[in-house]
């Protein structure tokens, strides 16, 4: 038992004393995840509304592809992006491999389907009268779009946070594209994997506890945005 107790004790000590290496890894992770979530959201929100609100021929197939991509393994995205940005790839000249931007690129691809599908469902479940009422109130096309986003805001924020949770906890893209370079592309998950292999169990555990806490906070927020008991009152 000493082994566990000791590891947990040292892990908590690392967190409480704000160990520089722990902080560095966590900030790198948060920076990368926040950027990729933001970029993916900017693309996904209009895309989701487009899919939910328009009738077009290929809609069914797009929805099936979208649903398939929800369970996309991170390593598959990793290989795909690697093939694009490695030296011989189409985007090789930009030298994105082993850079934070490379990871962000991969993560954006990873969560666009997730955020898009979740927001599509939110928009799809909105009351049809919302649009008719907006037109009858004299809303322009832009105002109608704005009203829709405002009306669906809690669902949209919830979807975006779910995307953030996914990139924060993924390891495939970060490892394959980022290369786990200390201080540059070393994220919580890649550091955990490396440090465990190196035998620095307490250090990995500290990061694990932080990741778990972040996940808890994310899920807590999502729950209250989507299913909180005061939902009807907002």
């Amino acid at each position: 038992m000493d082994y566990y107790a000791d590891a947990i004790y040292r892990a908590l000590k690392l967190i409480i004393t704000l160990d520089a290496e722990v902080i560095e890894v966590v900030t790198t992770s948060l920076k990368i995840s926040t950027s990729s979530t933001l970029i993916a959201s900017i693309i996904s929100i209009p895309l989701a509304i487009l899919i939910a609100r328009n009738k077009f021929k290929s809609k069914k197939i797009i929805n099936i592809i979208l649903n398939t991509m929800l369970s996309l393994p991170t390593v598959v995205v990793g290989i795909f992006v690697y093939s694009l940005i490695s030296r011989r790839g189409i985007l090789g000249e930009f030298e994105l491999l082993f850079t934070p931007i490379g990871i962000i690129f991969g993560q954006v691809l990873l969560i666009i389907p997730l955020i898009t599908a979740l927001i599509r469902n939110v928009i799809f479940s909105m009351d049809e009268k919302l649009y008719k009422t907006a037109i009858s109130m004299g809303a322009s096309r832009r105002q109608k779009f704005k009203l829709l986003i405002l009306e669906a805001r809690y669902g949209i924020i919830g979807s975006v946070i779910a995307g953030f949770g996914r990139v924060l906890g993924e390891i495939g893209v970060s490892m394959m594209i980022g290369g786990n370079i200390k201080g540059v592309t070393r994220t919580i998950t890649t550091a955990m994997s490396l440090e465990t292999n190196k035998g620095r169990f307490a250090f990995a555990l500290a990061l694990g506890l932080i990741l778990l806490s972040l996940s808890f906070i994310i899920n807590f927020v999502v729950y209250f945005l989507q299913e909180g008991k005061n939902y009807a009152k907002r």
Binding site: K129, I135, S136, L150, K233
Partner: protein, 242 residues
């Protein structure tokens, strides 16, 4: 009489999933009058109202506003902003009652001080001042409808469209609606109303149109309307009016 018409539609045809739901050769809305549209379920009343109020622009045929043909491919924002609609089952947006009533003015970029004054004034008229800070989701259906009436009237529309506004309300709310409605509508306002309520027709109607299976069966001034034409079911209660 011709110059009194504010809206005229010609050769309207509306299909819904390959089923023809509306086919109207000619229909007019008289200026500054209470224009009633009556008819049974599925007679196309609401579809016609949607077309007249420019909410629905996906149909065949022409619509004229003050003699000018309206381009259906255009957003017609300016014209739409002269209209207001009160729906049978009103949709209120997330937020409090004040926000909902103020929304049409916000969309028209009114100054916030003017909005404040106008909302208070209309809320007082409709007796919902006490609800202004309340969330729209906590209202009863009668209160919701009052809020949607305030929201429709706050822009002082040139034409007010009313789609069976009282069908879902209880007796008390209907009476409130009937007794207040004529006061709320100004002299310059034109009203197009879809209704089943014969008291409303008796109280308010100037001009009445009967729809049947998507086409106009009869359309004339209330004085010479033959209520027998309503057909079985509606005929008896309506006949009591004359």
């Amino acid at each position: 009489m011709l110059k009194d018409k504010i809206i005229e539609v010609k050769n309207i045809e509306k299909n819904c999933r390959e089923k023809k739901i509306l086919e109207i050769d000619n229909f007019i809305v008289l200026k500054n009058k209470f224009n009633f549209i009556v008819g049974g379920n599925g007679s196309g009343k609401t579809s016609l109202l949607n077309i007249l109020s420019l909410v629905d622009q996906d149909y065949k045929g022409e619509l004229y506003y003050k003699g000018e043909k309206i381009d259906k491919t255009n957003e017609n924002l300016e014209l739409r902003r002269k209209f207001s609609v009160i729906w049978q089952d009103p949709y209120l947006y997330r937020g409090n009652v004040f926000y909902n009533i103020a929304l049409p003015l916000k969309l028209r970029n009114f100054d916030s001080k003017i909005i404040q004054d106008k909302v208070k004034k209309i809320a007082k008229k409709i007796e919902i001042e006490a609800l202004l800070d309340q969330s729209a989701f906590t209202l009863s259906s009668g209160e919701k409808q009052k809020v949607s009436i305030a929201r429709a009237l706050i822009t002082e529309p040139e034409i007010l469209f009313v789609d069976e506004a009282t069908t879902n309300l209880d007796e008390e709310s209907i009476q409130f609606f009937n007794s207040h409605f004529a006061d709320l509508v100004t002299e310059e306002m034109t009203v197009v109303m879809v209704s089943h309520d014969r008291r409303q027709i008796k109280l308010l109607a100037d001009y009445i149109t009967l729809l049947h299976k998507g086409s106009v069966k009869i359309s004339r001034k209330i004085n010479d309307f033959n209520f027998q034409l309503f057909g079985a079911g509606i005929e008896t209660p309506i006949a009591e009016l004359v």
